[in-house]
C-alpha cells in the first residue's frame, strides 16, 4: 500500500486535549470526503485511544502522546496513537469488554468501541516502554 499523505501530532497527555486530537484527525481525513457516520466513528475511536493513553498509559501524569495519521491510495486510513507510559502486561485481558483497572466511572469498553467502529485494531505494548494502538478504516464516503 502506498501512503499518499501523512500527518503527525505530538501533544501533552492532558484530558483537555482529547477534544482537540479527535477534531484534528477528523479535519485531516476530510480530504477523503468521508460521510458523517464514518467521521463520528473515527472521532469516537480516536477519543478512546487517546483517553486510554492518558488514563492508563500515563496514569493521568505528564507525558506526550504521538499521533500519526496516514492516508493510502485505496481510501484506507491508518491512525497510530502511541504513548511512552507504563505499557500493558496482558493485552488480551486489557481488550476484554468490561475489563478496566480505572474504577467505576470507566466502562471498560474502550477497545470494544474501537473494534466496533474501525475495520482493524492492533495493539502492541511493552511494560515500562509504552503502548501503540493502530486503527484502520476504509473510507467509502458518499459511495454507500
Amino acid at each position: 500500500m502506498n501512503c499518499t499523505n501523512e500527518m503527525r501530532l505530538i501533544m501533552d497527555s492532558k484530558s483537555i486535549n482529547e477534544g482537540f486530537s479527535r477534531v484534528a484527525v477528523a479535519s485531516f481525513i476530510a480530504c477523503l470526503d468521508p460521510n458523517i457516520e464514518e467521521l463520528t466513528d473515527i472521532k469516537t475511536a480516536v477519543s478512546e485511544a487517546v483517553t486510554n493513553a492518558i488514563v492508563h498509559g500515563y496514569k493521568e501524569k505528564e507525558g506526550k502522546i504521538y499521533i500519526t495519521v496516514s492516508l493510502f491510495e485505496n481510501n484506507i486510513i491508518r491512525i497510530k496513537v502511541r504513548d511512552k507510559g507504563v505499557g500493558i502486561k496482558d493485552i488480551e485481558k486489557a481488550m476484554e469488554p468490561l475489563f478496566t483497572t480505572a474504577g467505576s466511572e470507566r466502562a471498560g469498553l474502550g477497545f470494544a468501541v474501537m473494534e466496533s467502529f474501525m475495520d482493524k485494531v492492533r495493539v502492541s505494548s511493552k511494560p515500562d516502554c509504552g503502548t501503540t494502538v493502530c486503527l484502520e478504516k476504509k473510507i467509502w464516503g458518499k459511495r454507500i
Binding site: G19, E105, A107, V113
Partner: protein
C-alpha cells in the same frame, strides 16, 4: 459540555449538551451526584438531545449514575440519543439497566 438540572416532585431531569468525553464527564458528574444525594428521586432522566459527541465516557457516566440511583432505590432513563450515541450505549448493554431511547426522527 454542560448539564442543566431540573426537579419535578420525585423526578430529576438532566439536560446534557456539548461533547461528552473523559475530560468533560469528570466536570459534570459531581453536580448530578449532588442532586441525586440531596433529592433522592425515584427517577433520573438523562436527556442527551443536545449532545454533539460521545465516546465510552458517556457509558461510564450513565453506569455510575445508575449505581448511585440504586442506593436511593430509584430508576434511570436515558432519552434523545443520537444514532451513534445509541450504538455506543447498546454496545455496553445499558438497556438492561434502564430505558434507553433514541432521538425521534422528525
Amino acid at each position: 459540555m454542560s448539564a442543566k438540572i431540573e426537579y419535578k416532585q420525585k423526578e430529576i431531569r438532566v439536560y446534557l449538551s456539548g461533547e461528552i468525553d473523559h475530560h468533560s464527564a469528570s466536570l459534570i458528574r459531581a453536580s448530578i451526584d449532588d442532586a441525586i444525594i440531596h433529592k433522592k428521586p425515584s427517577l433520573l432522566i438523562m436527556d442527551f438531545g443536545e449532545v454533539s459527541f460521545m465516546d465510552s465516557s458517556g457509558i461510564g457516566l450513565v453506569m455510575g449514575r445508575y449505581k448511585l440511583m440504586k442506593t436511593v432505590h430509584g430508576r434511570i432513563r436515558v432519552e434523545n440519543l443520537s444514532p451513534s450515541a445509541y450504538k455506543v450505549m447498546v454496545l455496553a448493554g445499558l438497556e438492561r439497566l434502564g430505558e434507553i431511547k433514541q432521538k425521534e426522527v422528525v
